[in-house]
Amino acid sequence: MKKPKSGSLLRMKRAEVLSGYLFITPIIILLGLFVFYGLFYVFKLSFYKWDGFMPETMVFRGLKNYSILIKDPLSLKAIVNVVIFMLSTVTVQMFLGLCIALLLRPKLLGHSFFKAIVYIPVTLSTVVIARTFMGLYEPYFGIINVFLRNMGLDSLTRVWLGDPKTALWCIIIANIFQWTGAQMVFYIAGLTTISEDVFEAAQIDGAGFWKTLKSIVWPGLWSTHTTVIVLGIVGAIKTFDIVWLLTQGGPGNSTQFPATMLYQAVAQNSQAGYGAAISVFMIVISVLLSALQISFNKKKQEA
């Protein structure tokens, strides 16, 4: 007969098993109530037509909300926007965050000050960030256009937030400004896991900045990359505040994101069922992309 593994439930006394379950009961109840019930309810709602108000007015409509979502050209626009946003913000924030973390690693004079400076935007409300960037982007008297005009570069002035070609990039820049400090902190923490001896050995072997980055820092920080990328992906998919504050999804839907579509559907257009379908779509995409990234990084680490 096969012997049960150490720590297996079969080897535990009944009382121990029971007390274990009792310990996790409160959190299971809380999670069930506030997370899983909510998820289930959103999933159920996505099959109904409802104005989000009186439950008795809910009408079952099967997969129609999903069919509308798939056929809506706005969905494709939102997906394309979120992909561009995700790739741009995650890549640039990772690169800048890592570079700043590396530059601040030697603990030179004033490194704490610079760390604080880079981190300040993370602590600011998105409203403050948005208002600041609105002041920069304002077409008539905004700092960017005024600067360009003063430099005689009138042809380069734009309606930054009012031009479908530039509005998304303006949002991306504001987001990068706000969150690079957070990535820097992740990388500073990650760098402390690489022993100083390894850096010294690399230095003795004549490795320069780029060689050290490529052969030591980059592979040594896989778990940090995973965290940063997963947070970036999930953050990008649910991005709402900065987009809403800067453009409200405009001009002419050019900066629609899944979350702004969701807000418009539920809060503005009273389409709670359709909004639920958008939510389910966002959850599925977030889980899939995160799982993909985690498994990719796991393989990379094992290799």
Partner: protein
């Protein structure tokens, strides 16, 4: 001696116990008063304002000491969220401000029919406005007591700059508007002749409706009822006129990056722009900052310490660019509704009736639609805007133009019954100004209305 002492002690005890009894009685009375006090909760978005509520509460509670008024002023989006959460749970405020259209329609089943309980008050209002309140409530009941009307859109202009540029008349059609803009460009090369906040979807829906109603009065209401398609020739013509304004430089593409309140109105008040487009509710801006309220604060948003402090402001309706008389959109802007639950408590219902009367025809009206700077045109028969703070001819004429247009040139209501359609109207405007194909934009709008 012993008996005197006994008597004195007895008397002292009697007085002490009597006074104790009396104070106890007073406490009981006070307690009873407190418990008898009817509490009315009143929720709204920006109207009445927090400042308005201070005087309204003071005046109302002085007049009715047994009623306590508790107010909550919110941003519109927060207000909608709060109402949704409260009414879904079967609660909700006792009194709430509503706007005809989606907000009223959504909460209509929870609102008390005011036809009977507020009959005496409603009889003192302009009959046409009461009829409109009934129509907007669905025709079978009156779900809101009309606090005041408003209309849009108007051109607010700096009359001082007009005079400096040698402009004697306000524009009334496309040609005169182009001429005025050209003169302003020559006279003030560093200023914007006209700003319009096309970044805001709430504003752009009105822009669409205004242009459509210039082509055919009442057309958006017909389309909203499904009697006309949103891609009909009238709408194509309306958007072609809008495009023409962009092509001729009356409206700049840059306006797509401008918000009404964050940017446009500020540029105008700072003297960076000569004209600014907004609704009639911004009429307080016509008042000079030297007109201040009891706290020394200038009326409305013209806060003072700006480059235009000594300038004179005026207003006129947006010209009808399709030809003919200018048209405006609007109707009842703010109505006061009563939660159906209030009827279950006779004391509360009585308090609610008193509040409605106080706000619509009583002293409360002078704190709201009758106060200096108010943008709401009162519903009370014979009442008008308070003109005491508009001493200059241009600003007084501006007030008259707004009141006259609201009373006589109303083409239709603001908004549509389906909020998704209204959102899309704004998107069509943005896309047309950006240069997209008009026909395909209107086809997309029609598709959304059929969803």
């Amino acid at each position: 001696m012993k008996s005197v002492l006994k008597a004195l002690t007895f008397l002292t005890l009697l007085i002490a116990s009597a006074s104790l009894f009396a104070s106890g009685n007073e406490e009981k009375k006070e307690m009873a008063n407190k418990t008898e006090k009817v509490v009315l909760t009143w929720w709204t978005w920006s109207l009445p304002t927090v400042e308005d509520f201070v005087v309204i509460k003071k005046g109302f509670e002085e007049k009715y000491p047994n009623i306590e008024l508790q107010s909550s002023v919110n941003q519109m989006d927060d207000y909608k969220t709060k109402l949704q959460a409260e009414f879904s749970s079967g609660a909700g405020p006792d009194i709430l401000c509503v706007q005809p259209g989606p907000l009223l329609n959504k909460y209509n089943p929870f609102l008390l029919d005011l036809s009977e309980p507020a009959k005496d008050t409603l009889n003192k209002l302009v009959p046409a406005v009461v009829a409109d309140a009934k129509f907007r409530s669905g025709g079978d009941k009156i779900a809101m007591a009309p606090l005041g009307s408003a209309s849009t859109m108007f051109v607010y202009y700096n009359a001082t700059y007009f005079e400096q540029a040698g402009i004697k008349e306000v524009p009334t059609d496309l040609e005169s508007m182009i001429s005025v803009i050209n003169r302003l460009k020559t006279a003030f090369p560093d200023k914007l002749p006209l700003t319009i906040g096309l970044k805001d979807s709430w504003f752009n829906g009105d822009v669409f409706s205004l242009f459509a109603n210039m082509v055919e009065s009442g057309i958006t209401e017909k389309a909203d009822q499904g009697l006309v398609k949103w891609n009909s020739p009238q709408f194509v013509k309306a958007m072609t006129i809008l495009k023409e304004l962009v092509d001729k430089g009356v409206i700049e593409k840059d306006a797509l990056g401008v918000s009404v309140y964050e940017d446009s109105i500020g540029m105008w008040a700072d003297g960076k722009a000569v004209m600014h487009i907004n609704g009639g509710w911004a009429v307080g801006m016509l008042s000079n900052p030297s007109n201040v309220n009891a706290e020394g604060k200038p009326y409305a948003d013209r806060r003072g310490d700006r480059a235009t402090d000594s300038d004179i402001f005026g207003a006129f309706p947006v010209p009808n660019f399709a030809g003919g008389k200018p048209v405006v959109l609007g109707g009842i802007d703010v109505g006061i509704s009563v939660n159906k639950n209030v009827a279950k408590d006779p004391a509360k219902l009585d308090a609610a009736k008193k509040l409605l009367d106080y706000m619509l025809v009583g002293e409360g009206r002078t704190y709201q639609t009758g106060r200096p700077g108010s943008g709401l045109i009162p519903s009370l028969q014979g009442a008008s805007l308070n003109k005491s703070i508009y001493q200059d001819k241009a600003s007084a004429d501006g007030v008259d133009a707004i009141v006259n247009a609201t009373n006589n040139n109303m083409a239709g209501p603001r908004g549509t019954s389906d909020p998704a359609v209204f959102t899309q109207l704004g998107i069509v405007v943005q896309n047309v100004v950006a240069g997209n194909d008009i026909k395909s934009e209107l086809d997309a709008l029609q598709l959304i209305s059929e969803k």
